[in-house]
Subunit: 472 residues, 2 copies
């Protein structure tokens, strides 16, 4: 196994293609994140013109670096990359991340030849390449990142992403819901180091408990299948395959130069190995939230509890549409609930539509305690409606806040696992509160989803995954 440790915890980094000219756009795109993450090793900015940036002297060339360098980020146009690779080999650099595009993904002879040349140089010398056409690595523990906005804290998700943009979007999308990453790799065209190398690394990485994949195509199918088999035995693997349609496969070839492969084969492979296949970044994020925060669920019987009759009707349809059950509560449980739940305007059958929260929050706590104690329920789904829909009689925000507080306390008191659906509001001035509610549930360790159908789909896949594990 290739030791990729230095990719995630390099001791010194050089950034080639930085500029001392403050008007050059995005000149600091790779430097600033390292500074913001408090990268602890040496950082060497490189540009033949020299100068200074962020208090660091810009060296003219890799050769001029005084000490050792593990990792070089190459932010220079494609045609300059082969020479840089040679310099890196001469310097004893372990890894080079090539940001530039203009290689095989152009579909043109020149770019294809350039990429082949890069790969050839890597093979002949001691330096390995990530990319080209990629953003490189993010590892909070190594204080390395290509985005300042990424969370500074580490977590158990390892994420291989062939697309730089899709890596940024997922990491930021799930951050408010509590998902944190051990390592993220944006690896682009994969001319040398490939999804296989990274997958093998994450499979054995003790900091990685869940593996997320966005893959457009693989180069060595058999090796990949072998590695995926090994990975899926050890850790949950969630896969988003880009380019699963005909036109999508063509788009893949223009994006990372990869061969997308046959969709049916991917489907069969996932089924066989128990890999959770998803079809959007949102769904990928939902699965990570679920694996991170959902306690093992014994069966498919859901209790849905919230405010709103129409909302709970649709929530029930959503659950049943993916094969989750919403069984009616038995008479004795209903009678217990009716001791404090007014008959008018409520339903205690399951879904439970109850407005007690508005009169006496403790009754909501009791509601969840009672329904979660019944043996016929495996999971409680708390439904927090959109903030704009609630009555404003005690001020919209405090009304919503009151509801969220009561629902969170009830979730903590539940005798069964809980999932929270915090629906987005519509008006910008209310967005902050909805966002805060999501974070409150996430901080308390609950899986949070923005809609019931997304929750239901993720919960269904989570339960199926564990059932399969049990049988195998």
């Amino acid at each position: 196994m290739q030791d990729l440790e230095n990719l995630f915890r390099p001791r010194a980094i050089a950034i080639v293609g930085i500029s001392s000219n403050p008007t050059t756009p995005r000149r600091d795109r790779f430097l600033t994140p390292l500074l913001d993450f408090g990268f602890e090793g040496q950082i060497y900015p490189i540009n033949p013109k020299g100068g200074e940036i962020s208090g660091l002297r810009i060296l003219p060339s890799i050769k001029d670096i005084p000490g050792a360098v593990d990792y070089v980020i190459a932010s220079i146009p494609a045609p300059f990359c082969p020479q840089l690779m040679r310099d890196c080999i001469a310097k004893g650099v372990k890894f080079v991340c090539s940001y530039a595009s203009g290689f095989s993904e152009t579909g043109e002879e020149e770019g294809i030849a350039l990429e082949a040349e890069l790969a050839q140089i890597a093979k002949s010398g001691g330096s390995r390449i990530i990319g080209p056409n990629c953003l490189g690595t993010y590892c909070p523990e190594g204080h390395i990142s290509y985005r300042s906005e990424f969370p500074k804290e580490s977590g158990p998700v390892g994420y291989l992403c062939q697309s730089g943009g899709n890596s940024i979007q997922l990491v930021q999308m799930v951050a408010p819901r509590g998902v944190r990453f051990s390592k993220v790799v944006s690896y682009g065209n994969a001319c040398d180091l490939s999804e296989c190398d990274f997958l093998q690394y994450l499979t054995h990485d003790p900091d990685t408990e869940i593996i997320a994949l966005y893959i457009e195509g693989v180069k060595d199918g058999q090796r990949f299948i072998n590695l995926l088999t090994e990975a899926s035995k050890r850790k949950p693997v969630v896969l988003l395959k880009g380019g699963c349609s005909m036109a999508g496969a063509m788009a893949v070839s223009s994006h990372t130069g990869a061969l997308a492969g046959n969709n049916a084969i991917w489907d069969a492979l996932c089924k066989q190995l128990g890999i959770i296949r998803v079809h959007s970044l949102e769904e990928l994020g939902d699965m990570l939230v679920t694996f991170l925060f959902m306690s093992p669920v014994r069966g498919r019987n859901m209790a849905i509890v919230g405010i709103g009759g129409g909302a709970s009707v649709l929530a029930t349809d959503d659950c049943e549409s993916v094969g989750l059950a919403v069984p009616p509560l038995p008479l004795e449980i209903r009678e217990e609930l009716l001791k404090f739940t007014p008959k008018a305007g409520s339903s205690v059958r399951n879904p439970i539509d109850t407005q007690v929260i508005l009169s006496e929050p403790n009754w909501f706590l009791d509601t969840v305690r009672i329904i979660s104690s019944w043996k016929g329920i495996d999971l409680v789904i708390v439904l927090v409606g959109p903030i704009d829909v609630f009555p404003s009689y005690i001020g919209k925000q405090s009304m919503y806040g009151l509801m969220v507080k009561a629902m969170l306390e009830a979730s903590i008191a539940s005798a069964k696992p809980v999932a929270a659906v915090v629906q987005p509001g519509i008006h910008p001035e209310m967005y902050n509160d909805m966002f805060g509610a999501q974070q409150e549930f996430a901080s308390a360790g609950f899986p949070v989803y923005p809609t019931m159908i997304r929750a239901a789909k993720a919960i269904d896949k989570f339960i199926s995954y564990h059932q399969r594990k049990k049988l195998s």
Copy 2:
């Protein structure tokens, strides 16, 4: 046909169950929206205790109202409703909206009997009932609303909604995307006036061009089918059926006391009549946006244009997954684009991933002009990525603003219809800008969606609807 005009444009309204005590929660829930909407007729608050509210004198009883009253909103507990109905009949009131729940939806003898009594009184006298267990009517032209936050402007959508909460959620959800309503009715248990009466009205209402339905159950199936047949001949009808699963059907009975009916029958009915069936409020909203703002599309060939390789790969998969095509642009078009599009970091094949917007916005305009002129394209989908994903080198907000401005100008210059996908951002401080971008596209008359898959599903259904119309 029952003349429901006074439900939407009453000359005078009485609100029964209002309180002069400022500590009574939600005591003004039906009054404040009327004041906020500038209701032009008389408003009579009613409570036996008398007093004053918002500068209006509270009368002890319906009988004490000096003039005529078309519409009475009853915000009093269920057991008081029959006597109120008798008073209303004596007073010659045309319509009574009963907000209270505690009727047949409780499933208990008492509530069922009370509802039957209400219906019986209505049938014997001259006053008709909406509800019980409902919020009544919203009609901007009539200055009548049950929510202050609803848009004050009128539009072409008529919306019948059996659930009050689902009526509020939809109206507010689609407002930023430009959807406005002629009439909305939240009609609850439908003990007297039913979905049939309202559907018949909307079918012939000159202010209503599109009919949206959220229905949990119907009471007179044959009449409803006849009316739906007539409605669907005249106007696009979009239907969200609540309670289409087994447990959902039981939830329906606890919510509005309705019989949900067989899901397969609803499906067959929709297919036969060319009614667009949807499965969530989000999808219902997407269809309204589409019918309101999408120009007739000749075929299923999409051009996808935006920034981001991975994003455009997934967007292409989303389109093809619902049967929309993303055909490759011919060589001559690509060559024209490559005159100003750098080969590295872009793809001009379709999907078009182009960063020219960042260097020269006019080139983006040219891009859309060129691709939309090609005969092989029927619709251009402009993909505005999440605000958090864009480089921050000229300040996040202005970067996003620059992009949105260029994309909007290009959309206006397009030779073919355009749909915009404006993806939500993640961080609250950026939400405002995303929201603004959505509104800019909507104001310019474009259909806007938050994700590509939602856009693709709505566009597919829109095209199928028009193809069917053409054939029939």
